[in-house]
Symmetry: C2
């Protein structure tokens, strides 16, 4: 049961980061400000790419930084690196061993960009390639599908956003997170019950918008990896541009929506999808939205931190759905822990 216990480590990991990594994060933020950087490029794959997506939204909305995905293939396949001039280039990788992510950092450093590695292995190639290193401090991840390191990655990005904004309120909000994460873990019994009720679903759509688009992407990936459910993640905005055609009575639709500017639009689309006969499961800190379908009530935190809280019940749902489907979430087929994309 190593995955379930690793999920339980989340609050302590975030606490550890707030104690142990804040200095390094502040040093990186000071250099971003000092060099008047307004562009962040992020190289990442798989789960870490979803962390990057969270970074795109919070660094954009809170710090007015433009965040671009690195498209690591450009360097690794085509040998063509975009000109980077005055950018912060982040490489995010649990293992620190994705050659294409390392390649982007090496090329960026060659061009004189500011580079930083966010990784769980401080002696990895990625850690050695970058100027700045922020260690995830999550301990070894024994389960093949990344769960606690996703939480640690987005926690580091939230800390970076707070350090860049430099206001005390953000830091206080961060300090209150571990308590909220513990409350989020208490949803497990409800989540497991909903998972059992959906054991026969082979497909589903996962909808969110804004800060939670990353949550939807990562939730869908876990559902695929662990429960072999063909889970399709969408920005609710894009969903209306076509995929809504797929909704039919009985289709399982999962939604994430917490208090903030995206809430009313999400409420509208979830109601529309429900009226079309979909079976909804909603993660939300808003009781009215929870009542549109099966609802998992989340502890309320400031919107920019809500993806940290929401991902725990989402991961637990994927874990319990896998078990309800008679699968072993510890040993997904065809998967290995480190993927060497070249």
């Amino acid at each position: 049961m190593s995955m379930q216990s690793e999920l339980g480590e989340g609050p302590a990991i975030v606490e550890g980061l707030l104690d142990g990594a804040l200095g390094r994060v502040r040093a990186l933020a000071a250099e971003v400000t000092g060099r008047d950087i307004d562009l962040v490029v992020i190289a990442a794959r798989g789960t870490s790419d979803h962390a990057a997506l969270y970074g795109q939204y919070i660094l954009g909305a809170r710090n007015r930084l433009l965040v671009a995905p690195a498209a690591p293939s450009l360097v690794s396949l085509y040998g063509a690196a975009p000109r980077l001039r005055n950018a912060l280039v982040l490489g995010i990788s649990q293992s620190g061993r994705s050659p294409d992510v390392v390649g982007v950092i090496e090329e960026s450093r060659r061009q004189g960009a500011l580079t930083a590695a966010i990784t769980n292995d401080p002696s990895s190639e990625l850690a050695l390639a970058a100027e700045h290193l922020i260690e995830l401090q999550a301990g070894p991840e024994r389960s093949v599908a990344a769960t606690k390191t996703y939480l640690a990655e987005i926690a580091v990005l939230a800390m970076l956003s707070a350090a860049l904004s430099g206001d005390d309120a953000s830091e206080e909000q961060l300090r209150a997170l571990p308590a909220a994460l513990r409350l989020a873990l208490e949803t497990e019994a409800v989540v497991a019950k909903f998972a059992e009720a959906r054991a026969d679903d082979d497909e589903c759509a996962v909808l969110a918008r804004g800060f939670h688009y990353a949550t939807a992407r990562e939730w869908a990936l876990k559902l695929k990896e662990l429960a072999y459910v063909l889970a399709d993640p969408y920005s609710a905005a894009d969903f209306q541009h076509g995929p809504i055609a797929l909704v039919h009575p009985g289709l399982s639709v999962l939604g994430v929506a917490t208090t903030g500017p995206a809430l009313s639009g999400m409420s509208e689309i979830l109601n529309r999808v429900s009226e079309a006969g979909a079976r909804l499961l909603v993660l939300s800190d808003d009781e009215a939205i929870c009542s549109i379908g099966d609802g998992v009530l989340l502890p309320r935190v400031p919107e920019w931190l809500s993806p940290l809280v929401a991902i725990l019940p989402a991961q637990l749902f994927a874990y319990h759905l896998a078990r309800a489907r008679g699968l072993d979430p510890e040993a997904p087929r065809n998967l290995s822990k480190v993927t060497l994309t070249l």
Copy 2:
């Protein structure tokens, strides 16, 4: 049968763009070069967002431009615009009426960025908001799901890349495209046969890498919109990071791979997926790759232009699959032509 006839208009549309839009594209390229711009931000939704993805790869690989998605929600939901300084900001929209895309262009222009609209409606809000206008000249799109305008959008981006590189070879390669597009349309009988054989598939994965990642995304969207197939697009690189767990005997997997740096990696993963028992359909200009599964042989063009050639059989497949499944591709359920995302 308006969609089928609109698909047939592709070669003439590209011919028309090469005759009628090259001047405006060159004027835009001259301003990008003159202002020493090395960052492109693209605002788009749905199908146009897949065109943006093609733009990200070719402008990066061929012109060393860093391309960032605009995340229109940042402006429309959070009222927070990243600082843009010296960027080219492109708004891509068939109708020119997506309020959030218009919002990004308006905000960018306010900040002093270079702005351009790529749209089928020269009197639309988007066209009026931007400094530069490149008209798609595709004629009215009668079918609800966008097909010919996707081709026109990526043709304009290819023309922009050629104009920025300023070499005669690129322009000659563009001039040869309409003939290759006509050959690509001749695959229709083969494509229709494969579509009929897969009429019972309710799900599939669509794999590609590099320049064709956009093709995979757009193909999957058409399969959802028209044939109600839960089609999941992946970068083949990301696919190995988890979703490969989903492959089981009999799963339908569609792949796109043409001659270039991505070919050998694609060959490897398609062979691996085939050995795991998947039923492969491959679009390729390489006979060896075609022979891994059901193969549709594409006319060979330079790699950067191959997404224009590959999308036609992909769209035809979605069209014929819809008909084989007893659906009306002209009237997908729940869809409307213009989506007003706010």
